[in-house]
């Protein structure tokens, strides 16, 4: 219960901070300053924005399907929020340690699609419907490479529990872990024990997952569901006030969720980045409850920043390019990673 409430509070504050950070990152990339007037360096800007959104009138269009329209943002937000339950934050801190954690998170991410389709259908607006169908087509397509890249990581660890996967990427590991398959690093830990360095193809699997996760959270260069310049705002065009805020916060929550999954599966979860070097027991010193939360957060927030960096660098894909890239490049590459993982598991580990 305490974890649930603290996660909820955290997501809201994180989302506000992330929107502010996004505006700052975009501003710096474009040689601007971003929000500066509300609070020091504009820090209160997003708080002011959300206050404004809460006070606004919740308009339901006459032609809209009222029930779908009202429920959809809640489904989207709750599904993202529920995803955080299975993420291990530290050796002892985890919402629920399910032995199907990976599967659960993937399923939860898929539930969001239903919310998107409800938003688009319920709004009864052509742009919203375009956005929703694009979003669904995109998320369904990119879940395949993302899922297979995840499976290639899961095959190495031989567990679907996010806790066990985290555990086996550091000095507390119960299995033997080998850096690139030849150097046993159970005692050394640190960055060398992360999944991404357990086999050479894992780096590619990570990149595939990261790219697909951009598509799943509707981020540029895969933001065709929102496509400001063609669909105005995409699927949430008819939304105002607090319902719009929910959809918007869920998008930023989704960014963090997919980053956290990437961190747990590939980048060592709550394990430290520093290896033990002889008498310098850096890894041992920086493992624990506080350090666990610190490492998970800093790694995932770095990934979120990379997502923002990509958004303000790359232009948007065309729909056919998006589908071509997903099905013709990412999916075969993910299958290749899966294949190598199987062989690696049999022959090397």
């Amino acid at each position: 219960m305490i974890i649930a409430i603290s996660i909820l509070l955290f997501i809201v504050t994180y989302a506000l901070a992330a929107v502010w950070a996004e505006r700052k990152v975009s501003a710096f990339i474009q040689d601007r300053l971003g929000p500066m007037e509300t609070g020091k360096f504009g820090l209160l800007q997003t708080a002011a924005d959300i206050l404004k959104l809460i006070q606004k009138e919740g308009i339901i269009p006459k032609a809209a399907d009222k029930w779908l329209f009202v429920i959809a943002p809640i489904i989207i937000f709750v599904s993202v929020y529920m995803g955080f339950a299975a993420i291990p934050l530290a050796p002892e801190i985890i919402g629920t340690d399910s032995n199907l954690g990976v599967f659960y998170v993937l399923a939860i991410i898929s539930v969001e699609v239903v919310g998107f389709l409800m938003v688009g259908w319920g709004s009864n607006n052509k742009y919203a419907l375009y956005g929703a169908t694009r979003s669904v087509a995109q998320i369904v397509s990119y879940e395949i490479p993302a899922g297979i890249a995840i499976i290639s990581a899961v095959m190495l660890v031989q567990s679907l529990s996010l806790h066990t996967i985290s555990l086996n990427q550091g000095i507390l590991a119960t299995d033997t872990i080998k850096f690139l398959g030849f150097w046993k690093v159970n005692e050394v830990g640190g960055i060398l024990a992360w999944n991404i360095f357990q086999a050479p193809h894992m780096l590619i699997a990570f990149l595939i997952y990261f790219t697909a996760s951009l598509a799943e959270s509707n981020r540029t260069p895969f933001d065709i569901p929102e496509a400001e310049s063609e669909l105005v705002a995409g699927f949430h065009i008819e939304y105002t006030g607090i319902r719009f805020a929910l959809v918007f916060l869920a998008e930023y929550g989704m960014m963090l969720l997919v980053s956290m999954v990437a961190v747990v599966l590939f980048l060592g979860g709550w394990n430290t980045i520093l290896p033990n070097m002889g008498p310098l027991k850096l890894a041992t010193w920086t493992t624990g409850a506080f350090w666990g939360i610190f490492w998970v957060m800093s790694k995932s927030l770095t990934l979120v920043l990379v997502q923002m960096w990509i958004r303000w660098t790359l232009p948007r894909f065309r729909v056919d390019q998006l589908m071509g890239f997903g099905w013709k490049v990412l999916t075969p590459a993910a299958f290749a990673c899966l294949f190598i993982s199987g062989i690696w598991r049999l022959l090397v580990m």
Binding site: V25, A27, F28, I29, Q30, D31, R32, L33, M36, W309, I310, W312, T313, L314, K328, V329
Partner: protein, 194 residues
């Protein structure tokens, strides 16, 4: 297929190039550009850093004798009406009353012979050509470096520079009328004698 492979590689290359470019801008954003005005020789050399000017808090200095708001030193004005005549948009309104007594000199020694009962410049009409400042014989109408003017009512743009009140103007007019009458009477008396 080979073509596709090289496409992917060049695609990755161009993505990395773009990301490098944007991170360079983020790095350069540590420093803002210096807003020291066009008088600085390096004014056009600054290619990096934040370009935003937080306007009410920061300003780019403008040249001291730029073409901005007009100002009139009414004490130096000889009310010659040249500025109103040259003005291409007729934004200057001047009314004068002939002085009967000695009303002093301007700072450059020109004798003043007219009272400026009205001197208005409508900055809403002004196109900032500066012609009025070049024709002014006493250089009392000048352009200042003040450019930030906003008003709630457009009538406030029609700025008053004459210091004479209406009552004073009426007084001066009466004095002039009286003087003219006396002079006319004196002239009539003189013609009678002949």
């Amino acid at each position: 297929m080979k073509n596709k492979g090289s496409n992917i590689i060049s695609g990755i290359g161009s993505v990395l190039k773009g990301m490098g470019l944007t991170i360079k801008h983020v790095w350069a954003a540590r420093n803002g550009r210096k807003f020291d005005g066009v008088a600085n020789d390096n004014y056009f050399e600054q290619q990096e850093g934040i370009v935003t000017i937080q306007y009410p808090h920061q300003e780019i200095p403008v040249p001291e004798i730029g073409r901005y708001q007009l100002d009139v030193k009414i004490d130096d004005c000889v009310v010659c009406d040249l500025c109103a005549k040259i003005c291409p948009v007729d934004c200057i309104t001047i009314e004068s009353i002939k002085a009967v007594e000695d009303i002093g000199k301007t700072s450059d020694g020109t004798t003043k012979r007219l009272h400026a009962s009205k001197f208005f410049i409508d900055h809403a009409k002004c196109m900032y050509c500066g012609l009025c400042t070049t024709v002014c014989p006493t250089e009392c109408i000048i352009m200042t470096n003040e450019y930030d003017v906003s008003v709630f009512d457009i009538k406030e743009m029609d700025r008053k520079f004459s210091v004479m009140t209406e009552q004073q103007a009426v007084e001066k007019q009466l004095m002039l009328d009286k003087f003219n009458e006396e002079r006319a009477a004196a002239k009539a008396a003189a013609t009678k004698k002949d």
